[in-house]
Amino acid sequence: MNDNTHIDHKSHGYGVYVLIWFALMALTGITVAVAGINFGALTIATALVIASVKTYLVLTVFMHLRSETMVFKIFILVALFFLIISFILLFTDYSFIVRN
């Protein structure tokens, strides 16, 4: 085998994907069920936390991040970090403008 054509992906079994799919479906059910209950300010936080858990499952299993090298994981963490920074900076700036 040629050294630059190797595929270093481990093959995941079919079962793992089906299991993750069940988890994603269950989480969708929970989001819809919880949306009916009024937690006040926590309602949107709950929805976002569940969405983040679902995203984590899709990223690690469906998008094979768990079998990728460290470089990929750092890559994605840096991207997410800057996305979150842009959100935080915008909101601090925005609330400052609103207050004045």
């Binding site: 054509t5 595929i7 992906h9 079919y14 994603l24 995203t55 469906f62 998008m63 959100f87």
Partner: protein
């Protein structure tokens, strides 16, 4: 070693770089949608009541159903890659076709959902929408732009996966060389992730 042998044994291919390139592209998509999510959060922060009222007009059942369809299509896409890894060409094609069918189902639902809104006179620029409070106009503006852009991504994804079915059938995508399918899969899962956030933010505001 003759030169022809050289070209045959050293066709340049770098699977890690292909995947990394795809991830880089996905980051640009993240910024595209990220900007819209920022816009959404600022407007929602300013108009909590109007967003709440406007979101009541959306059909939660269709939204939930579409979420389930999209999650399932992500599953079939992932399964098609496992199938090709195990050299099961026909099973891989079957799963890719399932993905396309589910994606089309998503778009059909979207068509009926948007169609019902249009029927009730709620579409960008309509008199009925413009007579609503500013916050609700913003909500529907964001709703049409964000789900519309997401729908466009679904359509592009359908074309990509159809191309992958063709490549798999022609054995361009094989057990030893399936990075095209892997990249199409990464794109498809990103479309799924965006919907995972769009769904509670538009359909489940209480």
């Amino acid at each position: 070693m003759s030169s022809s042998e050289h070209t045959i044994s050293h066709v340049h291919r770098d699977d890690v770089a292909s995947r990394m390139g795809m991830w880089l592209f996905l980051f640009t998509e993240l910024l595209l949608f990220g900007g819209m999510f920022i816009l959404y959060s600022v407007y929602r922060y300013n108009n909590p009541e109007a967003f709440h009222l406007a979101a009541k007009e959306l059909n939660t059942i269709i939204g939930t159903f579409n979420t389930m369809i999209l999650l399932t299509s992500s599953l079939t896409m992932a399964l098609s890659i496992t199938a090709i890894q195990r050299n099961n060409k026909s099973l891989s094609i079957f799963f890719q076709m399932m993905t396309v069918i589910l994606a089309l189902g998503f778009m059909v639902n979207k068509y009926f959902e948007w169609g019902a809104k249009f029927h009730h006179g709620i579409y960008p620029g309509s008199d009925q929408l413009l007579s609503k409070p500013a916050g609700e106009i913003l909500f529907f503006g964001l709703y049409y732009v964000m789900t519309g852009l997401h729908g466009l991504h679904v359509l592009i994804g359908i074309c990509l996966i159809l191309l992958m079915i063709y490549y798999t059938a022609k054995e361009v995508i094989t057990q030893d060389n399936y990075m095209k399918l892997e990249s199409a899969g990464l794109y498809w899962h990103l479309v799924d992730i965006i919907w995972i956030f769009l769904f509670p933010l538009f359909y489940l505001i209480t």
